[in-house]
Protein backbone atom coordinates (compact mmCIF):
# COMPACT_ATOMS: atom_id res chain seq x y z
CA UNK A 1 0.00 0.00 0.00
CA UNK A 2 1.55 3.32 -0.99
CA UNK A 3 -1.18 5.70 0.18
CA UNK A 4 -2.45 6.28 -3.30
CA UNK A 5 -5.30 3.77 -3.29
CA UNK A 6 -7.99 6.21 -2.34
CA UNK A 7 -11.26 6.79 -4.13
CA UNK A 8 -12.98 4.68 -6.78
CA UNK A 9 -15.48 3.70 -4.11
CA UNK A 10 -18.66 1.76 -4.93
CA UNK A 11 -21.86 3.52 -5.94
CA UNK A 12 -24.89 1.39 -5.08
CA UNK A 13 -28.60 1.93 -5.56
CA UNK A 14 -30.65 2.02 -2.36
CA UNK A 15 -33.73 -0.07 -3.09
CA UNK A 16 -35.96 0.67 -0.12
CA UNK A 17 -35.32 4.24 0.98
CA UNK A 18 -36.78 6.59 -1.64
CA UNK A 19 -40.33 7.67 -0.76
CA UNK A 20 -40.98 8.60 -4.42
CA UNK A 21 -41.21 5.66 -6.85
CA UNK A 22 -39.61 7.50 -9.78
CA UNK A 23 -36.76 8.97 -7.75
CA UNK A 24 -33.74 6.70 -7.45
CA UNK A 25 -31.22 7.16 -4.65
CA UNK A 26 -27.62 6.03 -5.17
CA UNK A 27 -25.16 5.86 -2.28
CA UNK A 28 -21.39 6.45 -2.59
CA UNK A 29 -19.78 4.14 -0.03
CA UNK A 30 -16.77 6.05 1.25
CA UNK A 31 -15.70 3.55 3.90
CA UNK A 32 -14.04 1.65 1.04
CA UNK A 33 -11.06 3.96 1.53
CA UNK A 34 -7.87 2.89 3.39
CA UNK A 35 -8.82 4.22 6.84
CA UNK A 36 -12.52 3.68 6.31
CA UNK A 37 -13.74 7.18 5.59
CA UNK A 38 -14.12 9.81 2.89
CA UNK A 39 -11.31 11.77 4.57
CA UNK A 40 -8.57 9.65 2.99
CA UNK A 41 -9.29 11.62 -0.17
CA UNK A 42 -8.59 15.06 1.27
CA UNK A 43 -5.74 13.88 3.53
CA UNK A 44 -3.82 12.56 0.51
CA UNK A 45 -4.64 15.64 -1.58
CA UNK A 46 -3.67 18.15 1.12
CA UNK A 47 -0.46 16.36 2.10
CA UNK A 48 0.65 15.78 -1.49
CA UNK A 49 0.07 19.45 -2.31
CA UNK A 50 2.05 20.56 0.77
CA UNK A 51 4.93 18.22 -0.11
CA UNK A 52 4.97 19.49 -3.71
CA UNK A 53 5.12 23.07 -2.42
CA UNK A 54 7.94 22.18 -0.06
CA UNK A 55 5.89 23.05 3.04
CA UNK A 56 6.21 19.49 4.33
CA UNK A 57 9.41 17.49 4.18
CA UNK A 58 11.52 15.04 6.19
CA UNK A 59 11.01 15.38 9.94
CA UNK A 60 7.86 17.48 9.57
CA UNK A 61 5.37 17.75 12.44
CA UNK A 62 1.77 17.96 11.26
CA UNK A 63 -0.97 19.50 13.38
CA UNK A 64 -4.66 19.27 12.52
CA UNK A 65 -7.94 20.06 14.26
CA UNK A 66 -10.30 17.14 13.60
CA UNK A 67 -13.24 15.40 15.20
CA UNK A 68 -11.66 12.15 14.05
CA UNK A 69 -11.75 10.99 10.46
CA UNK A 70 -9.43 13.60 8.93
CA UNK A 71 -7.01 13.11 11.79
CA UNK A 72 -7.06 9.34 11.30
CA UNK A 73 -6.46 9.64 7.55
CA UNK A 74 -3.59 12.10 8.05
CA UNK A 75 -2.10 10.02 10.88
CA UNK A 76 -1.85 7.01 8.58
CA UNK A 77 -0.05 8.98 5.89
CA UNK A 78 2.20 10.64 8.48
CA UNK A 79 3.16 7.23 9.86
CA UNK A 80 3.96 5.92 6.37
CA UNK A 81 6.02 8.96 5.46
CA UNK A 82 7.85 9.48 8.74
CA UNK A 83 6.16 12.66 9.95
CA UNK A 84 5.01 13.45 13.47
CA UNK A 85 1.26 13.95 13.80
CA UNK A 86 -0.68 15.84 16.44
CA UNK A 87 -4.48 15.96 16.30
CA UNK A 88 -6.45 18.58 18.22
CA UNK A 89 -9.72 16.84 19.01
CA UNK A 90 -12.86 17.70 20.98
CA UNK A 91 -12.94 15.57 24.15
CA UNK A 92 -16.47 14.29 23.46
CA UNK A 93 -15.88 12.18 20.36
CA UNK A 94 -16.61 8.44 20.58
CA UNK A 95 -13.64 6.68 22.23
CA UNK A 96 -12.95 4.52 19.18
CA UNK A 97 -11.74 7.56 17.29
CA UNK A 98 -9.10 8.39 19.90
CA UNK A 99 -8.02 4.75 20.03
CA UNK A 100 -7.60 4.51 16.27
CA UNK A 101 -5.64 7.76 16.23
CA UNK A 102 -3.29 6.44 18.91
CA UNK A 103 -2.95 3.16 17.02
CA UNK A 104 -1.68 5.15 14.05
CA UNK A 105 0.83 6.93 16.25
CA UNK A 106 -0.88 10.30 16.54
CA UNK A 107 -0.50 12.47 19.60
CA UNK A 108 -3.78 13.93 20.86
CA UNK A 109 -4.58 17.29 22.36
CA UNK A 110 -8.13 17.30 23.70
CA UNK A 111 -10.20 20.47 23.76
CA UNK A 112 -13.28 21.06 25.94
CA UNK A 113 -16.41 19.16 24.89
CA UNK A 114 -18.64 22.19 25.11
CA UNK A 115 -16.78 24.05 22.35
CA UNK A 116 -17.08 21.24 19.80
CA UNK A 117 -15.05 21.34 16.61
CA UNK A 118 -15.12 25.13 16.67
CA UNK A 119 -13.09 24.95 19.88
CA UNK A 120 -10.60 22.46 18.40
CA UNK A 121 -10.09 24.76 15.42
CA UNK A 122 -9.55 27.82 17.62
CA UNK A 123 -7.04 25.96 19.82
CA UNK A 124 -5.13 24.50 16.84
CA UNK A 125 -4.80 27.99 15.40
CA UNK A 126 -3.06 29.15 18.58
CA UNK A 127 -0.55 26.26 18.27
CA UNK A 128 0.15 26.49 14.53
CA UNK A 129 3.36 27.98 13.21
CA UNK A 130 6.85 27.35 14.48
CA UNK A 131 7.69 23.70 13.95
CA UNK A 132 4.12 22.68 13.14
CA UNK A 133 2.55 22.51 9.71
CA UNK A 134 -1.24 22.79 9.79
CA UNK A 135 -2.80 21.58 6.54
CA UNK A 136 -6.13 22.91 7.87
CA UNK A 137 -8.93 21.03 6.13
CA UNK A 138 -11.39 23.89 6.80
CA UNK A 139 -9.45 26.34 4.66
CA UNK A 140 -7.31 24.21 2.31
CA UNK A 141 -8.31 24.38 -1.38
CA UNK A 142 -6.94 20.85 -1.86
CA UNK A 143 -9.95 19.64 0.19
CA UNK A 144 -12.68 20.62 -2.30
CA UNK A 145 -10.24 19.95 -5.16
CA UNK A 146 -9.95 16.30 -4.11
CA UNK A 147 -13.71 15.98 -4.59
CA UNK A 148 -13.80 18.04 -7.77
CA UNK A 149 -11.10 15.85 -9.32
CA UNK A 150 -12.01 12.53 -7.71
CA UNK A 151 -15.43 11.99 -6.15
CA UNK A 152 -17.38 14.07 -8.68
CA UNK A 153 -15.92 12.51 -11.85
CA UNK A 154 -16.30 9.02 -10.30
CA UNK A 155 -20.03 9.66 -9.96
CA UNK A 156 -20.31 11.02 -13.51
CA UNK A 157 -18.51 7.96 -14.85
CA UNK A 158 -21.26 5.72 -13.48
CA UNK A 159 -24.39 7.83 -13.97
CA UNK A 160 -25.06 9.86 -17.07
CA UNK A 161 -27.43 12.16 -15.20
CA UNK A 162 -27.64 13.30 -11.60
CA UNK A 163 -30.45 15.60 -10.44
CA UNK A 164 -29.39 16.09 -6.83
CA UNK A 165 -26.34 15.47 -4.68
CA UNK A 166 -26.63 15.23 -0.89
CA UNK A 167 -23.80 15.19 1.66
CA UNK A 168 -23.30 16.15 5.28
CA UNK A 169 -21.91 19.58 6.08
CA UNK A 170 -18.65 19.38 8.04
CA UNK A 171 -15.96 21.40 6.28
CA UNK A 172 -18.13 21.89 3.20
CA UNK A 173 -15.36 20.46 0.99
CA UNK A 174 -17.41 17.55 -0.32
CA UNK A 175 -20.39 19.74 -1.22
CA UNK A 176 -18.19 22.35 -2.92
CA UNK A 177 -15.99 19.96 -4.91
CA UNK A 178 -18.58 17.39 -5.98
CA UNK A 179 -21.09 20.19 -6.54
CA UNK A 180 -18.79 22.02 -8.96
CA UNK A 181 -18.04 18.84 -10.91
CA UNK A 182 -21.70 17.81 -11.19
CA UNK A 183 -22.78 21.33 -12.16
CA UNK A 184 -20.40 21.30 -15.12
CA UNK A 185 -22.24 18.21 -16.40
CA UNK A 186 -25.73 19.45 -15.45
CA UNK A 187 -26.16 23.09 -14.44
CA UNK A 188 -29.59 22.26 -12.97
CA UNK A 189 -28.32 19.76 -10.38
CA UNK A 190 -29.39 20.55 -6.79
CA UNK A 191 -26.57 20.48 -4.24
CA UNK A 192 -28.04 19.78 -0.82
CA UNK A 193 -26.41 19.83 2.62
CA UNK A 194 -27.51 17.63 5.48
CA UNK A 195 -27.09 19.82 8.57
CA UNK A 196 -25.73 17.51 11.24
CA UNK A 197 -27.83 17.08 14.36
CA UNK A 198 -25.29 18.69 16.60
CA UNK A 199 -26.78 21.76 18.27
CA UNK A 200 -27.33 20.09 21.60
CA UNK A 201 -23.77 18.79 21.83
CA UNK A 202 -22.23 22.22 21.56
CA UNK A 203 -23.90 23.51 24.64
CA UNK A 204 -21.21 25.88 25.77
CA UNK A 205 -20.53 28.14 22.80
CA UNK A 206 -20.23 31.36 24.69
CA UNK A 207 -21.48 33.66 21.99
CA UNK A 208 -22.45 33.54 18.38
CA UNK A 209 -19.28 35.40 17.58
CA UNK A 210 -17.72 31.99 18.14
CA UNK A 211 -19.87 30.45 15.43
CA UNK A 212 -17.82 29.29 12.49
CA UNK A 213 -18.26 28.94 8.76
CA UNK A 214 -15.29 27.11 7.19
CA UNK A 215 -13.45 29.22 4.59
CA UNK A 216 -13.76 26.43 2.00
CA UNK A 217 -17.58 26.51 2.31
CA UNK A 218 -19.55 29.04 0.27
CA UNK A 219 -23.18 28.94 1.47
CA UNK A 220 -24.28 30.47 -1.85
CA UNK A 221 -22.90 27.48 -3.78
CA UNK A 222 -25.52 25.07 -2.49
CA UNK A 223 -29.23 24.91 -3.22
CA UNK A 224 -30.72 23.65 -0.01
CA UNK A 225 -30.02 22.51 3.52
CA UNK A 226 -31.99 19.95 5.49
CA UNK A 227 -31.80 19.81 9.26
CA UNK A 228 -31.58 16.23 10.50
CA UNK A 229 -32.49 15.52 14.11
CA UNK A 230 -30.41 12.96 16.01
CA UNK A 231 -33.41 10.62 16.29
CA UNK A 232 -33.97 10.67 12.52
CA UNK A 233 -30.30 9.92 11.84
CA UNK A 234 -30.41 6.99 14.29
CA UNK A 235 -33.58 5.61 12.69
CA UNK A 236 -32.11 5.86 9.18
CA UNK A 237 -28.78 4.37 10.30
CA UNK A 238 -30.74 1.35 11.53
CA UNK A 239 -32.90 1.19 8.40
CA UNK A 240 -29.79 1.11 6.22
CA UNK A 241 -28.60 -1.91 8.18
CA UNK A 242 -31.95 -3.70 8.21
CA UNK A 243 -33.18 -2.89 4.70
CA UNK A 244 -30.05 -2.31 2.62
CA UNK A 245 -27.46 -4.36 4.50
CA UNK A 246 -25.24 -1.31 5.00
CA UNK A 247 -23.40 -0.90 8.32
CA UNK A 248 -22.90 2.87 8.44
CA UNK A 249 -22.08 5.59 10.95
CA UNK A 250 -24.69 8.11 12.12
CA UNK A 251 -23.57 10.87 9.75
CA UNK A 252 -24.34 8.50 6.86
CA UNK A 253 -27.77 7.93 8.36
CA UNK A 254 -28.25 11.70 8.55
CA UNK A 255 -27.21 12.18 4.91
CA UNK A 256 -29.56 9.45 3.69
CA UNK A 257 -32.42 10.90 5.76
CA UNK A 258 -31.83 14.25 4.00
CA UNK A 259 -31.67 12.50 0.61
CA UNK A 260 -35.02 10.82 1.29
CA UNK A 261 -36.48 14.19 2.30
CA UNK A 262 -35.20 15.73 -0.93
CA UNK A 263 -36.64 12.80 -2.89
CA UNK A 264 -40.04 13.55 -1.35
CA UNK A 265 -39.87 16.99 -3.00
CA UNK A 266 -39.07 15.54 -6.45
CA UNK A 267 -41.33 13.65 -8.86
CA UNK A 268 -38.62 11.83 -10.78
CA UNK A 269 -34.87 11.72 -11.16
CA UNK A 270 -31.67 10.52 -9.54
CA UNK A 271 -30.10 11.52 -6.24
CA UNK A 272 -26.56 10.64 -5.20
CA UNK A 273 -25.85 10.69 -1.47
CA UNK A 274 -22.38 10.37 0.04
CA UNK A 275 -21.96 8.00 3.01
CA UNK A 276 -18.78 9.13 4.80
CA UNK A 277 -17.99 6.17 7.05
CA UNK A 278 -19.09 2.81 8.42
CA UNK A 279 -20.44 1.82 11.82
CA UNK A 280 -17.34 0.32 13.43
CA UNK A 281 -16.18 3.50 15.16
CA UNK A 282 -19.60 4.00 16.79
CA UNK A 283 -20.17 0.63 18.47
CA UNK A 284 -19.58 2.21 21.88
CA UNK A 285 -22.61 4.45 21.36
CA UNK A 286 -24.94 1.45 21.29
CA UNK A 287 -26.49 2.85 18.13
CA UNK A 288 -27.97 -0.43 16.91
CA UNK A 289 -29.50 -1.68 20.13
CA UNK A 290 -31.97 -0.27 22.62
CA UNK A 291 -34.67 2.31 22.15
CA UNK A 292 -34.05 5.33 19.97
CA UNK A 293 -34.70 7.84 22.74
CA UNK A 294 -31.94 6.55 24.99
CA UNK A 295 -29.52 6.49 22.03
CA UNK A 296 -30.45 10.09 21.26
CA UNK A 297 -29.67 11.06 24.85
CA UNK A 298 -26.30 9.33 24.67
CA UNK A 299 -25.39 10.71 21.23
CA UNK A 300 -26.61 14.19 22.16
CA UNK A 301 -23.47 14.84 24.20
CA UNK A 302 -21.08 13.45 21.61
CA UNK A 303 -19.56 14.78 18.43
CA UNK A 304 -19.66 12.24 15.67
CA UNK A 305 -19.26 14.05 12.37
Amino acid sequence: MNGLEVGNTPLVRLRHISPTPDVEIFAKLEWYNPTGSVKDRIALAMLSAAEAEGRVGPGAHLLEPSSGNTGIALARLAKMRGYRMTVVIPANVPGERKNVLRAFGAELIETPAEYGSNGAIAHAETLAGGDHVMLFQYGNPANPAAHYEGTGPEILKELESVDAFVAGLGTGGTLMGVGAALREANPGVAIVAAEPPIGEAVFGLRSLEEGYTPPVFDPDAIDGKILVRTGDSVIMTRRLMAEEGLFVGPSSGAAVHAAARWASKMSRGRIVVLLPDSGWKYLSTGLWTGDVESIVDRLGGQLYF
Binding site: G199, F203, L208, T213, K225, L227
Partner: protein, 94 residues
Protein backbone atom coordinates in the same frame (compact mmCIF):
# COMPACT_ATOMS: atom_id res chain seq x y z
CA UNK B 1 -53.10 30.56 20.93
CA UNK B 2 -54.29 31.84 17.56
CA UNK B 3 -53.94 30.09 14.21
CA UNK B 4 -50.51 31.60 13.52
CA UNK B 5 -48.94 30.06 16.56
CA UNK B 6 -45.68 28.10 16.23
CA UNK B 7 -42.95 26.72 18.47
CA UNK B 8 -39.39 28.07 18.29
CA UNK B 9 -36.46 25.92 19.41
CA UNK B 10 -33.84 28.06 21.11
CA UNK B 11 -30.14 27.07 21.00
CA UNK B 12 -28.25 26.70 24.26
CA UNK B 13 -26.33 29.94 23.77
CA UNK B 14 -29.55 31.97 23.65
CA UNK B 15 -31.48 30.21 26.42
CA UNK B 16 -30.35 32.65 29.12
CA UNK B 17 -32.29 35.32 27.20
CA UNK B 18 -35.54 33.33 27.36
CA UNK B 19 -35.47 32.20 30.97
CA UNK B 20 -33.67 28.97 30.15
CA UNK B 21 -36.47 27.60 27.97
CA UNK B 22 -35.59 25.17 25.15
CA UNK B 23 -38.74 25.92 23.19
CA UNK B 24 -40.85 29.09 23.25
CA UNK B 25 -44.17 29.87 21.56
CA UNK B 26 -44.44 32.62 18.95
CA UNK B 27 -46.91 34.05 16.49
CA UNK B 28 -46.33 35.39 12.99
CA UNK B 29 -46.82 34.48 9.35
CA UNK B 30 -43.18 34.88 8.28
CA UNK B 31 -39.76 34.29 9.84
CA UNK B 32 -39.35 38.08 10.09
CA UNK B 33 -42.62 38.39 12.03
CA UNK B 34 -41.65 35.50 14.31
CA UNK B 35 -38.28 37.09 15.11
CA UNK B 36 -40.00 40.41 15.81
CA UNK B 37 -42.51 38.67 18.08
CA UNK B 38 -40.01 36.75 20.21
CA UNK B 39 -37.58 39.68 20.11
CA UNK B 40 -40.30 41.94 21.51
CA UNK B 41 -40.89 39.64 24.46
CA UNK B 42 -37.27 38.67 25.20
CA UNK B 43 -34.82 41.57 25.38
CA UNK B 44 -31.63 41.04 23.40
CA UNK B 45 -32.87 38.02 21.46
CA UNK B 46 -33.50 39.69 18.08
CA UNK B 47 -30.00 41.22 18.21
CA UNK B 48 -28.53 37.72 18.46
CA UNK B 49 -30.46 36.43 15.45
CA UNK B 50 -30.16 39.44 13.13
CA UNK B 51 -27.12 41.52 12.27
CA UNK B 52 -27.06 45.31 12.45
CA UNK B 53 -28.54 45.56 8.96
CA UNK B 54 -31.52 43.47 10.00
CA UNK B 55 -30.41 40.43 7.96
CA UNK B 56 -29.85 36.96 9.37
CA UNK B 57 -26.61 36.84 11.36
CA UNK B 58 -24.05 34.92 9.32
CA UNK B 59 -23.40 32.44 12.11
CA UNK B 60 -27.09 31.74 12.70
CA UNK B 61 -29.13 29.25 10.70
CA UNK B 62 -32.92 29.37 10.94
CA UNK B 63 -34.94 26.36 9.86
CA UNK B 64 -38.68 26.30 9.13
CA UNK B 65 -39.49 22.67 9.76
CA UNK B 66 -36.30 21.02 8.52
CA UNK B 67 -35.42 23.52 5.78
CA UNK B 68 -32.87 26.35 6.07
CA UNK B 69 -34.62 29.63 5.25
CA UNK B 70 -31.50 30.89 3.43
CA UNK B 71 -32.51 28.54 0.61
CA UNK B 72 -36.20 29.45 0.81
CA UNK B 73 -37.25 33.12 1.01
CA UNK B 74 -34.94 34.17 3.83
CA UNK B 75 -36.69 36.26 6.49
CA UNK B 76 -39.76 36.43 4.24
CA UNK B 77 -40.17 32.64 4.29
CA UNK B 78 -43.79 31.84 5.18
CA UNK B 79 -44.36 30.02 8.44
CA UNK B 80 -47.45 27.79 8.34
CA UNK B 81 -49.33 27.46 11.63
CA UNK B 82 -48.07 24.57 13.72
CA UNK B 83 -44.59 24.59 12.18
CA UNK B 84 -41.52 24.21 14.34
CA UNK B 85 -38.83 26.85 13.88
CA UNK B 86 -35.25 25.98 14.88
CA UNK B 87 -32.48 28.48 15.49
CA UNK B 88 -29.08 26.81 15.26
CA UNK B 89 -25.59 28.34 15.47
CA UNK B 90 -23.17 27.52 12.64
CA UNK B 91 -20.68 24.85 13.68
CA UNK B 92 -18.01 22.92 11.81
CA UNK B 93 -17.30 19.20 11.62
CA UNK B 94 -14.57 17.03 10.20
Amino acid sequence: MNDQSVQVRIPTVMRPLVGGEKVIPATGATVRAIVADIGGRHAGLAERILDKDGELHRFVNVFVGDEDVRYLDGLDTPVPAGTEISIIPAVAGG
